[in-house]
């Protein structure tokens, strides 16, 4: 609103001027000189005089570039290659201008000016995108915005000293922008968004090059944004083609992460499994199958494998989500801690189910994140409790404790939906050899052995089996647990009717 009179014309003139400079022979030989000439022109038109004018200039320029692309896209009988060449001719010049302004604004030591300008421009482009997205609805086109973001990212990640010095802030600015443009907010931009997030240079910078894994948390947040968007569509199991394509693209990205950055998936598995729908079995298995590259996993089929003798089995895995803080409300957490310590108040157990239930809507009855947090919190406390007694978790030391009271109460008291989710929360901890895998493997087998109804045993089998019949990969902890269950005669597994209910199941 209230653009000063003539600003639109000035902006158009300057943009045209810049494009011809950008493609001129002098720019080819000496880009910086061409740029400095142009900055004087911008100054001459007073564009750089105030923050407000710079903002208006970038919004108008972005708008013009986008409108131009829509015109090219609407041209009849034009080929995708030709359309792109025309659009990118303008967009790439505009991006170069932004990159040069960011690089050369403020003096070399004062990086704030540069980063503030970058955040401003990214925010403006994001704002124009969201407005366009809401105005045009299904006529929205991702092309101009995708090009601006990816080419600006690549320009600002070229290995030059000025840019290396501000790279972490550049990455942070892009992650903020991508979070603002997450698929739930700009669904028409979802495919381009995943291309940006999974671009080889972006992955390299976020997960490999940035020191001390400082990019991992931001990258994890972007993946959570993606899973949250996919969840309602995947929960419906019947995948429409647009969802299948996005889901398959997500699998590809996760495979690259599993292969190149398994520790990243190990550290953030909890947050990912909190938002991946329970029926999304293979994608969840993929995440849970990650294990540190320096670890050698013993073959799960090794006869008489002594899991509790493995050196890593005593080490607690890194879980970078603060799952304890997810146990709400505080009063519930206080009662939980008090029950764990002193098995009081006794009403805690009988109230447990009502704390976990959020509605009576079938399939939506329970607070899954709370269930997951409760299970992992109680398990982690149990391991410490057993350790503090100088013992190690095994089938006997995990029994007869306030922790196991809670698990057994959940197994008995919940309905089939709640129990399914509870058992899933446990199975989500069956990963590579570590203290959580070991404790929860023992817990699952203990619940099976001590079950007072066959339904509990049937649902434990169901939760394990549905994770095993999907295509690979399968988490190591899942395999060793199921092998123990079906091989160890203590559990009388093969005697149960539900094992023989159908040839496929028995097979």
């Amino acid at each position: 609103f209230d653009d000063p009179p003539g600003l639109l014309e000035k902006t158009e003139f300057l943009l045209r001027e810049w494009i011809s400079i950008h493609y001129s022979a002098t720019a080819g030989r000496d880009p910086t000189r061409a740029f400095s000439i142009f900055v004087q022109q911008m100054n001459g038109h007073g564009i750089l005089k105030t923050d407000d004018l710079i903002t208006r200039f970038f919004r108008l320029s972005t708008q013009m570039c986008v409108d131009l692309c829509y015109r090219f896209l609407a041209e009849p009988a034009s080929t995708p290659t030709l359309i792109r060449t025309k659009c990118f001719h303008t967009l790439d010049a505009f991006v170069r201008l932004i990159a040069l302004l960011v690089k050369h604004s403020g003096d070399a030591s004062n990086t704030n000016t540069k980063i503030n300008l970058l955040n401003k421009v990214l925010g403006i482009v994001a704002g124009v995108l969201l407005q366009d997205h809401d105005n045009r609805l299904t006529e929205f086109q991702q092309l101009p915005y995708h090009r601006i973001f990816i080419m600006l990212f690549l320009e600002l990640n070229t290995p030059e000293p000025i840019l290396e010095a501000i790279n972490y802030q550049v990455l942070t600015a892009f992650c903020h922008t991508l979070h603002i443009l997450r698929p739930a907010k700009a669904s028409g931009f979802a495919y381009a968004w995943l291309e940006l997030v999974s671009h080889r240079v972006f992955i390299g910078r976020m997960l490999a090059i940035t020191p001390q894994q400082k990019g991992w948390g931001m990258y994890a947040q972007l993946l959570i944004d993606l899973f949250k968007f996919l969840a309602p569509f995947l929960r419906n199991a019947e995948l429409a083609k647009p969802v299948t394509l996005l889901y398959k693209g997500t699998l590809r990205v996760l495979l690259v992460l599993l292969h190149d950055f398994p520790e990243f998936l190990c550290d953030y598995h909890y947050g990912f499994c909190d938002v991946i729908p329970p029926n999304c079995i293979q994608m969840r298995n993929l995440i849970l199958s990650a294990f540190p590259r320096n670890m050698r996993l013993p073959d799960p089929f090794t006869p008489n494998l002594k899991v509790d003798m493995l050196p890593e089995i005593a080490h607690a895995p890194r879980v970078l989500t603060n799952f304890a803080s997810m146990i709400q409300p505080m009063s519930f957490k206080k009662d939980l801690d008090s029950y764990l310590k002193a098995r009081a108040p006794v009403t805690f157990l009988s109230d447990l189910r009502s704390n976990l239930q959020v509605s009576n809507e079938p399939g939506m009855r329970y607070n899954i994140p709370l269930m997951n947090a409760l299970v992992l919190y109680v398990g982690a406390q149990a391991i410490n409790f057993i350790r503090n007694k100088g013992l190690t978790p095994n089938m006997s030391t995990i029994a007869h404790s306030s922790h196991m009271d809670i698990f057994q109460n959940l197994a008995v008291d919940l309905d089939t939906e709640g129990r399914y989710l509870f058992l899933n929360a446990i199975a989500n901890q069956l990963r590579y050899p570590n203290s959580h895998t070991h404790y929860f493997s023992c817990t699952l087998l203990y619940l099976f052995a001590e079950a007072n109804t066959e339904a509990i045993q049937e649902q434990i089998t169901r939760v394990l089996l549905e994770r095993l019949i999907v295509n690979r990969p399968h988490p190591w902890g899942l395999l060793i647990t199921f092998i123990e269950l079906i091989k160890n005669p203590t559990y009388k597994f093969w005697n149960h009717e539900f094992v023989h209910c159908a040839p496929e199941i028995e097979k």
């Binding site: 493609y23 999974s198 394509l245 495979l255 169901r462 089996l465 549905e466 199941i505």
Partner: protein, 186 residues
């Protein structure tokens, strides 16, 4: 047994439904993740040439923009001064280079067509280019095949190698067809 979808019957129902409804398979039984175009056994990292979430194959060398001094980039202004791409002016090995590095691109077809016009033939099973070896013609020739020593182009060692072949004529590719509407050069 548990009657609803949270027991064994629920799982069995889903498995059986997936047998008839392909849309269900991707979640119920998952898919073969080794068939998504990623070499999961690669000793190197995959991300440096990851083609993106929709790509069936990794990036080709020419798809990856490396940071080079601006002078190395073909500036649009000198574009017209550069000779246009004319395959019939290039030696065989450049044609082979274009054929093997431009998979899935019109350049691969164009290189194949030029090789064909130079009496190379692509064997659709052996997946190699073959040509007559001067002085070493066919020792046996019928209406459907010929046998003898021929040159084939060994892309691993990048040279012509003489070798005995039994050539079924129906396994030799005909003249490669270039797409009718060649996208206009921008």
């Amino acid at each position: 047994m548990v009657k609803d979808q949270f027991g064994m019957v629920g799982l069995l129902t889903f498995i059986r439904a997936a047998e008839t409804d392909p849309n269900l398979v991707s979640l119920a039984l998952g898919q073969d993740l080794t068939a998504l175009g990623l070499n999961l056994n690669s000793p190197e990292n995959l991300y440096p040439n990851f083609g993106g979430p929709w790509a069936e194959t990794p990036c080709r060398p020419q798809d990856i923009d490396f940071h080079v001094p601006p002078e190395y980039l073909i500036n649009a202004t000198i574009r017209e001064k550069l000779a246009p791409v004319k395959l019939n002016r290039y030696k065989d090995d450049l044609l082979f280079y274009m054929f093997y590095t431009n998979v899935g691109d019109v350049l691969q077809l164009a290189a194949a067509a030029e090789l064909y016009s130079r009496e190379w033939r692509y064997h659709t099973e052996e997946k190699v280019w073959i040509t007559q070896a001067p002085g070493l013609g066919a020792v046996e020739k019928t209406s459907t095949y010929e046998r003898g020593t021929y040159y084939f182009f060994d892309a691993q060692n990048w040279r012509k190698v003489a070798k005995e072949f039994h050539l079924d004529y129906n396994k030799l590719e005909g003249r490669p067809q270039l797409p009718s509407i060649l996208p206009p050069q921008p």
